[in-house]
Symmetry: C2
Subunit: 333 residues, 2 copies
């Protein structure tokens, strides 16, 4: 559990693309994003107040979150200076970088001396159980995809936002680095030991009120041969009551696998549903979330209408056109 | 890679059940099993020569394999004495125990001083790649099961033995601790990090001669919610050309999951085949391997005949009645 609120460290980000994590926090947890910290040469700007460490402290910030990718795979001396100072000022640090903060001797030493925490969200901090498959109270919705990186995290976040706006009980459950930094907790599923994958998702989505929904961030795809095992652990550990099928229509082949075509929406719907019903016989597919970012608005709308006609369930781009249709469907379960 | 041949350490095994690993080595790699080492109070006997460390050395043994479960989860002082002596005599040690040899300071110190290796096969010794899904040469057969522990390892080992007897090119590929100790190498798949599961199986079953078969040891079941992700990584990383469906007909529920019924053979056949064809469109199911150990011989034969009639493919208990039918089917691919 990472303490909030945050100061978002942008370092010397060359552009906005490098600041993906910080953008996610600003967009989805604006109440955590008190300000940004930019160094000389930073070309990213979140539109948040630029705060010094002292100013952030005065505003109650608890954690400095590295919201930017690092260049060349190293934590530069210029970054290091700020990070050390932040620890000394009493902030925790949180990072999803491949280089772990804890592997930097100076950061580790200062954190120990000051009693601050280093949160490396890429590695599990919990000893997860083996899944027991026992039915849990409360409800769960899982985003499954035709491929990796088709918008599963954004779909779950959009649905959570819409549900909260309707005063429904809803919690986004992060299963990847960005999601964990956005919400302050979650399971870095790709880094979990094989035997404990499904158990980690049971742990992440425990018993809850009967009308509470977990919106579980999906990972990979049952049709992506590199990561399908991770996806199936989500399907079985998550025990979903509802599935949303996510898709990006302009992709020429599976991400990172030039020889592999994307499956159809029908294939993902049928395969995921049959497997999900092993853990929860009442599971249903409620609709389709289509990432239309590479399509003109009219084309996108036509495409969505075509899916609704052909497959008989709601289809939307939840980020572009809202998640209302999907939440309407959830509300009926 | 564990150096062979082996001296099989039985310690103070209370009974034969505790010596499962040693029995597996004796049965499946008799050429590695030069002798056994038994301590006072040992109630297991493999029918192999009892050898002192010196005698084993003279016979060319390279590795002392712990072929027995330990009591109470500790490596006892009595065991330790033998293990230290074995290192000093120039043997490597190999173990599938949960307690790692390398975590015992005295064993670690002696191994370093003598230059010997400690093989803890429960933990990966290799940095596996992420799966790339590229089609590999040679052929692969994977055992998939209705449940855990239904005989997938034995099925693959029986098929390998039969194929070698027919001078077919065949290699059993171990994916669990027992299999790794039997053959001297493999992937401890349940201990691999999620993102690298499928890649570890690609690594285990590399390009090979066109008429060479890998017989891949299965793990878990697509229908076992605790471990299904591990199974799907095998299905996609293994790129099988052939699947054998394994089953144990007397089981009342999924292993460790009292609320879960076993799937039917048809369900496993159809689900596994559809998923396998994502990685290899030519994959086929060649038959059924039934573990009939809890059935009378006549009942077993009737059951197998019924499956063949109903499902139209060969069915056998490969351990009890031979793997010939399955190998006949493989030979046609």
């Amino acid at each position: 559990m990472i303490e909030t609120p945050y100061l978002l460290f942008l370092g010397d980000a060359p552009d906005m693309l490098a600041a993906k994590v910080a953008i996610g926090i600003r967009d989805w947890r604006p109440e955590y994003a008190v300000g940004q910290f930019r160094m000389d040469g930073c070309n990213a700007d979140l539109g948040l107040p630029d705060l010094s460490l002292q100013e952030a402290k005065a505003k109650g910030v608890k954690t400095l979150v590295i919201g930017v990718a690092n260049r060349g795979g190293i934590i530069s001396p210029a970054w290091k200076k700020v990070l050390v100072q932040a620890l000394e000022e009493g902030f925790d640090l949180a990072s999803g970088l491949h280089n772990l903060l804890r592997d930097e001797p100076d950061l580790k030493a200062v954190a120990e001396a000051t009693g601050r925490s280093l949160h490396d969200v890429r590695v599990p901090a919990v000893k997860y159980p083996i899944a027991n498959g026992i039915k849990r109270s409360g409800k769960r919705c899982l985003a499954v995809g035709t491929d990796c990186s088709v918008g599963k995290m954004y779909t779950a976040l959009c649905m959570e936002k819409e549900m909260r706006a309707r005063a429904m009980k809803a919690t986004f459950r992060a299963t990847g680095q960005t999601g964990i930094l956005i919400t302050g907790n979650g399971v870095p599923l790709d880094a979990v030991i094989a035997d404990f994958m499904a158990g980690s998702i049971e742990w992440l989505t425990p018993d809850n009120e009967a009308d509470h929904w977990d919106l579980i961030e999906g990972q990979g795809s049952l049709y992506h041969v590199s990561y399908s095992g991770v996806t199936l652990a989500l399907v079985h550990g998550g025990q979903p009551d509802a599935l949303v099928v996510c898709h990006e229509p302009t992709r020429a082949h599976m991400r990172g696998l030039p020889g592999y075509q994307l499956p159809t929406l029908e294939q993902v719907r049928d395969t995921a549903l049959a497997l999900a019903r092993v853990a929860n016989p009442d599971c249903v597919v409620i609709g389709y979330a289509i990432n239309t970012q590479h399509m003109k608005e009219e084309d996108a709308k036509n495409y969505l209408a075509e899916i609704e006609r052909g497959l008989g369930l709601p289809a939307t781009d939840p980020y572009r056109f809202g998640a209302g249709k999907l939440v309407d469907a959830l509300a009926l379960i």
